[in-house]
């Protein structure tokens, strides 16, 4: 069913904090997401952002068995990840259409020829999937699950906003925020699922600092609850440059192991552009230096690490 009201023309965004649960049927999962979406759309936002790993909510039902974080999750995702993705996207298309809003419905672990990819999606108000962003950096903990990285970073125009997505661990890689920002993004969406306990410092070291370094907004939707033997705890956050906000926080949902909720904020682009003009970080990039060392230095470092590892193994 489509709600018959004109789509808001503003710049309101909503971030949803959702508790992961092992629910008994697909219908109960759909209801959980629907309820969250109804709440999230109270202030009629242009865009709603869900946390990471929402695609795993249905995995145990599709696989016909419980999974644990580790090899059993990898195995279930390799066999049923595609079905989980399809299920999540079906719900997302419906929800976006019903509420006439853009929706980032969270993420899935999806099998490919190379291994599992961690994918986030952007769905338009007409239910079309506008695009998919893969996690591009796979730290050791994610690599243990068999994750492989994507190699592209996209941005999309969501009416007046230009958005990019930092998926999962990408929020802690400054390369990602920079590439998103330099493609003109004004907002970075960050679906996250961070194991408990919540650390304010870890959040500051991730999304918060990417916002300060790139002078864009960020919408982080955090997962809480428990799944596969892991407890999650995060603080859903809409962040902006400290010049606009004092401490970088525009709105936030308090952290908690079962904490759920949502926050909506109007993103003031005029003020953002004023901050960029008054403190012109981009004007002082040392492009000559970067041109000389990137990406060769990364290649050299990785080769050195590989050599050291080989020597150690011998």
């Amino acid at each position: 069913m489509r709600l018959h009201r004109p789509r808001p023309a503003g710049r309101k965004v909503t971030a949803v904090q959702l508790a992961f649960d092992t629910l008994p049927t697909l219908e109960t999962i759909r209801e959980r997401l629907l309820l969250a979406m109804v709440e999230a759309c109270r202030e009629r936002p242009l865009l709603v952002v869900f946390p990471a790993l929402t695609g795993l909510l249905a995995l145990h039902l599709l696989a016909g068995r419980e999974w644990r974080w580790g090899p059993s999750l990898t195995e279930a995702a390799l066999r049923f990840g595609e079905a989980a993705e399809e299920t999540l996207l079906d719900w997302a298309r419906q929800l976006a259409r019903q509420h006439d809003t853009y929706l980032m419905p969270g993420t899935c672990l999806v099998p490919t020829d190379e291994g599992l990819v961690h994918a986030a999606y952007l769905v338009g108000p007409d239910g079309q999937v506008l695009g998919r962003q893969l996690q591009t950096h796979v730290p050791a903990a994610d690599a243990a699950l068999g994750l492989v990285p994507g190699h592209e970073i996209h941005v999309w125009d969501v009416e007046v906003l230009r958005v990019g997505i930092a998926v999962g661990s990408d929020a802690w890689y400054p390369e990602v925020g920079r590439i998103i920002a330099l493609q003109g993004a004004t907002v970075m969406l960050c679906p996250t699922a961070v194991p408990a306990p919540y650390s304010r410092w870890r959040q500051l070291a991730g999304i918060w600092q990417q916002v300060q370094a790139n002078q864009f907004f960020a919408v982080e939707a955090a997962l809480s609850g428990a799944g596969g033997g892991v407890e999650f705890e995060g603080r859903t956050l809409i962040a902006g440059p400290v010049e606009m906000t004092g401490d970088g926080t525009i709105a936030a949902v308090p952290p908690g192991r079962r904490s759920q909720g949502w926050v909506t904020a109007e993103l003031d682009l005029a003020r953002l552009f004023r901050v960029r003009r008054e403190y012109p970080i981009a004007r002082f990039f040392n492009v000559e230096l970067y041109g000389r060392v990137f990406p060769h230095l990364y290649e050299a470092r990785q080769a050195e690490t590989d050599r050291a590892r080989e020597v150690q193994h011998r």
Binding site: P139, P149, E152, W172, R178, Y279, F285, V287, T305
Partner: protein
Amino acid sequence: MTGGAVGFRERLQRALLAWKVRPRRIARHVAARAGRPGETLRRLDPAAVRLGAVQMRFEPAPSPEDYAARVLDLARRAVEDGAQLVAFPEDAALPLLGLLPGGVDLLAAPDVDTALASVGGGATVLDVLLFAGPAVERAYRAVFSAVARSLRVYVHAGSAMLPGRDDQVYNVAHLFGPDGRLLARSRKAHLLPLEAAWGLVPGEDLAVVDTLVGRVGLPVCMDATYWESFRILYLRGAEIAVLPVANPEPYDEWLALRGLWPRVQESPMYGLQSCLVGRVLGMTLTGKSGIYGPLELSPAGDGIWARMDDPEAEGVVVAAVDLRALAEHRRRLGLDRSFNLELYRRYLPGVYQRVARRMRERAERRPRRPRGDGRR
């Protein structure tokens, strides 16, 4: 006065200045005051490398001896607390402009324009730095070299705005070894808008140097606003980044938090920050000197080992950091393996070049806008 007379007067003033800052005299003065050499480098333990951050209040130096005495006293306090590497702030050489004729009054002016007006002749900041540069550099290097040698520790001398051989002025960090030798210099690669407005130019690289207390990177202040600087240092193997800072704005915890602290989280290493504080030319300099590092290794889980409480007071903080734990932390994170070379080949450095080109084109099309203020 004729052009020849002006030239003669300038040469004479330069000669007098050079005489005033004779390195041997400075070295003798420091050695006489230093007392017993420090012993902190006698025992080396990578699991307990002791770093000292000096928070120095800006005070014009009426003579090289006064300046040397202040530097020595501050460094000695750090060494007495066990520091093996002692770091001074950005623009640590600025007080030496007090050696110019009328220099102390010049530095006491309420703002830069009034100071320049007192010099007369339409002088600019760049003119003053170019004129004073050779004498300032001579005194600055002599003082810090002598202090390092006398205390037998590594001394990061902060930075100085100095002319290069190309007659451009750079903001240059200096690191001296325990024998007083200059081990490395590194030019600030990302300027403060204020520095760019004064006519300084950015450096073209960031130095990393091996020492007995670890591999040390030499960024300067605003370099920490750009994660790229610290990624470069990390990729070159730096274990400790020494960051001299002179931040001309009232202290704000949140503004301060976007410098060194996030950089040593993204590119895991230890960070030693030394701040210049006090008032100069109408600007209030603030900062909290300290020793920072990865959250996971820090005693309270906040990435802070030691930090000055007061952002405006002079003082010294010292803390021990563990290089072995850092190596293990890096290995556990698997950061090197997670770098996405295919992604970087696709986007770096092209994304910067496209933006720079667009900004150049826009600037050419529009009349010039005023630059940003002095914040970093």
